[in-house]
Assembly symmetry: D2
Homo-oligomer: 345 residues x 4
């Protein structure tokens, strides 16, 4: 039987999660919400996702029809027919929405824009799928935390302990955001340490981690510079770490110089060639020639596609909450194969 998924908020993240869910054979999109009729509704119509209004407000619901869109009702109506709701609303509405989800007695997932405290439980596929099994609700962590988990969790699993410092070199604006700057400056995040690194602890408390963050004038990817201190007797080498990550789902290892992929711009070009919609890159990109283990200290760079690396995690997380697939590796394999087949061009 197919899991019925509601998407509350059909924007940057919501539209991607809807597509990824639609690609799976064990779940389906039963509806997506918009605050009102707008350009984004066309995309839902094209995909055949039933439209609902974010609000239970007859006037607002009626406006959709006025603009030629069929609206199936308010959020409550959508929650009533779904097994799980993926909250992709634009930040800071968490507490308010949580109350609605609890009232509807529905499973719920928030995104990394909300705090861990809201749900008391967080999720990434490789870190803590098992702990999320059959939970009532959780939070899929942010793009940065997801990215850190991808490469750090296997290191931790091998070593048994890990101390990490990272600098998050963040894109200052999203690709479609033309309001935000800076145009020609570097902006340090003056909260030290920044919240980014420590958020990993919400999914893997055993990893010790801090971070500093700066925003820079680019719109396409974040980049992390990472220093990880391994415990004595780790038994690893630069080569064996690369081998480990090559076998890690959703991590791409490529040689930068050999492939002429020396910046995030060329990483994004490679992603466009892969053929996923929106030019997305669900994987974390690690430069093979940027990894170096010196004694117990490991240095590396990784690039993060902000709007998409969490998308497949959302699919896995649905299975965790519904308890339909207890093995995270099995879920990841299923999710990724379905997404690849979906984008067949």
């Amino acid at each position: 039987m197919s899991i019925k998924v509601a998407i509350n908020g059909f924007g940057t993240i919501g539209k991607r999660v809807a597509d990824a869910v639609d690609a799976q054979d064990d779940m389906e999109v039963v509806g997506v919400t918009k605050t009102g009729p707008s350009f984004g509704c066309d995309l839902a119509v094209k995909k055949g996702f039933p439209l609902y209004c974010t609000f239970d407000d007859e006037d607002r619901i009626a406006r959709f029809a006025e603009q030629g869109y069929e609206c199936h009702g308010g959020l409550s109506a959508l929650l009533a027919i779904a097994d799980v709701v993926v909250d992709c609303s634009p930040g800071k509405l968490g507490a308010e929405n949580l109350a609605k989800y609890k009232q509807a007695d529905i499973k719920y997932m928030f995104q990394g824009g909300e705090k861990h405290a809201l749900t008391g439980l967080s999720y990434t596929s490789s870190a803590n799928h098992a702990e999320n099994l059959n939970a009532q609700g959780t939070r899929v962590v942010s793009c940065n935390t997801t990215g850190l988990s991808r490469t750090l969790v296997p290191l931790y699993e091998h070593c048994g302990s890990l101390k990490v410092e990272c600098t998050m070199v963040r894109r200052a604006a999203d690709p479609g955001d033309s309001k935000k700057g800076p145009i020609n400056a570097i902006k340090p995040v003056l909260k030290v340490p920044s919240h980014h690194g420590p958020d990993v602890i919400t999914v893997k408390p055993e990893i010790e981690i801090n971070s500093l963050a700066v925003a820079v004038p680019t719109t396409i990817m974040h980049l992390h510079t990472i220093i990880a201190d391994l415990p004595d007797g780790h038994g690893l080498s630069t080569e064996s770490i690369l081998e480990m990550w090559s076998n890690t789902p959703r991590v791409i290892i490529m040689h930068g110089e050999d492939n002429r992929i020396t910046t995030t711009a060329e990483v994004m070009e490679m992603a466009r060639d892969i053929g996923r919609k929106w030019g997305d890159l669900h994987e974390i990109f690690v430069w093979e020639d940027g990894v170096n283990l010196i004694g117990n200290r490991l240095y590396y760079f990784q690039a993060i596609h902000q709007e998409s690396d969490v998308i497949p995690e959302n699919v896995d997380c649905i299975r965790a909450l519904m308890g339909t697939e207890p093995d995270w590796r099995a879920s990841v394999a299923k999710t990724d194969a379905a997404i690849s087949a979906y984008y067949n061009c």
Copy 2:
């Protein structure tokens, strides 16, 4: 019977033309060339396009196999089995390649990086499809010239004459190019007038046109500011011009303020939603609220997706050279419908 198309050069333009040809039911890709084994070969393999070597050189051909790619031979072997070759090689090889195409007695198409003088004939779908019917070879004009033709040709057809000045505000580098600047400057093209505007004359000599060009620190789209002087008695209004363009193939008219598409960044986001591979936008984007006819002088802005607006023109041009579709509007409709169906996600 299917037209057999060879793609000489499988890079930024070549890979897109190959996809667009592959989407059609009256033509097929019989092979694509690469200079040697590299990352780009994977894309050809994935799509099932037979690989050939750009050179007729046994050593170079052998290298493909060493890297695990099946190479079907050199360029000559590819030309021998094709009806038409689309030259997508990286600039300045025109004369050399032309000799090869003539020797192979094959129809040929160059791109806008080559000069009109090379072929003595140029092409855009709406401007001069008829003149290109059954020609031996031609040149599909550049992204900018194609963009200007899209909006100016229908104006000219209505008015019977047209005098145009435009400023080309050009992206200084391609999205995947991390070498070129400037990072924080505006660069005027000190050749005045620039070559961009006058190139329109190669497809529609009746239009009088000049241009100035500047490069600016962006990687995503060009933008044209255009001033067109209509002849007395033109009988048009701002509204009727918008109506005309709404009925023009491959032109998108949208209200910027109403749709919150106020920069090229949001145009590109909209293009990503459309779902074409690489986030491409084959259409020229005209801001409805940026069009104003004052007396005989028309002002407007249009945005150009550099790496993709010429792609459907290449498909139409194949039909022109092969003489299989004399009506440009019929070809355009067929091309665009097939491309839309191809990207079904």
Copy 3:
């Protein structure tokens, strides 16, 4: 006797006007206003400009002393000891401030952020110094209008008539503004025509002019692409126009290719070498190799240093209002020589 000048608003423009006034031997800065104690006060203290509070508010005035700055009183106190006030307050306070200036019965000058309607009179040195002689108040036009006047007025004076179209390629943010974007986009100003060109009419109504504007991701200079239609019988050539501008005050003509000054970045580097404070360039920069007269139509590019080209005009305008120098060329020569000598390093 020295003209007593008050500067209302000691920010980006105010601090520069204060310096330029301080450099002259026929005028002096009797005080500058700040809204409260802040970093900018240090600069006033260092220069010896008496500090006043923007408001006549005892509490606010007292705050300066709390931070260790001597405040000489509120705006009224400053106006009482000045002959003329240069309003450099941050936009949209014009009407409110005008009332105060009228009440104080003091001569006043606004900047280009205010509309012409506020004063009914506008000013640039070369366009209409004579008309501003002994006026009670006026508006020094914006950086763009000042820049257009510099090159267009001498052309008009020679030709007797002039029709102009220009595209303003604008820096999207100021150098010290890290909030505003876009980072990677071109933004057309969807008001067509834009207000920039027509503002020239406020100082030289005989010039016919329109403009289109786009904002681009750079912080250092604006660039204008200009098309000017000269009347029949103009008797000019590209060379004679260059000669004319070489003899025009505050216009720099340089060959871009020969001097490797091919973008606004290199123009700014040249400005830093000149040694004016803040790396300012009071002059309009015209690329010699970007000027071309074809028949009656003149094409050229010019670069504008947004925060400084109006500074020397403010000094000339003070003399116009006070009636102390009726000859604009004499005032310009005096202003510029004093500024050059002031920055003697």
Copy 4:
């Protein structure tokens, strides 16, 4: 008696060193070299610095006169009248020039673009002035190494040992460089660790340090994110470290939020207000609210003005080589006071 200083190479660094030397009362510029007549010669003429040709070549020397510049001879002639030569030539000419300096039996200083191995001795004012006293030649380290020394040396002096990791977030191009990108990407330096951090060891071998580097699309400053591990019993707090740096020459501590200086753009605006030529900032800028000591680990950010932080070090280094001022603090105080007085506007 005044130290006679030759500047070999009057470009970005050379022109600044010449100005700084000219400001001192114990040294003078006896000549500067240019490869040929060009725009840069005007600046030398304006300042009264005698011009020499970089080469001992009569033809090249003669070309200066043809362009109206007085050239006093070739490099040999300049070296013959100087006590010390500051090599500011554009990289990679070190070995060749060193031979000439040795032949001329003159003291010599290279810049950080050359390797330590060239001279076997390197210099920053606070790290090793004493070791450079009366040396025949040395190398003033790069902008980044100078910046790291400024804040790390006093920490080391206090603690007795120090282990440091830093991420260098580098501006990808100089302000006047319009050729280099990337425009919209982050570029990791795939040599891990990068050379930047370890170069500190050439002036203070006791500090353990590594670094990672990325280039970002900005032209105005570098920014370092730094993690320093202090030894047990260090006795410091965040506050006492800020106090220590407040008393360190050429370090500026400012609160970012309070002063609205939250990015390198605002730092540069502040520098323009200070009034040094070229808008230079000789000091290292540390955000007060970006410093945090947690246990033994210190986190902080600092911004580096690439083309100017080494300028005063060059002046101090001249005194070191000539043996005229053995106390580095006395030299620094003298250098900085003279520079401040020089720019009196």
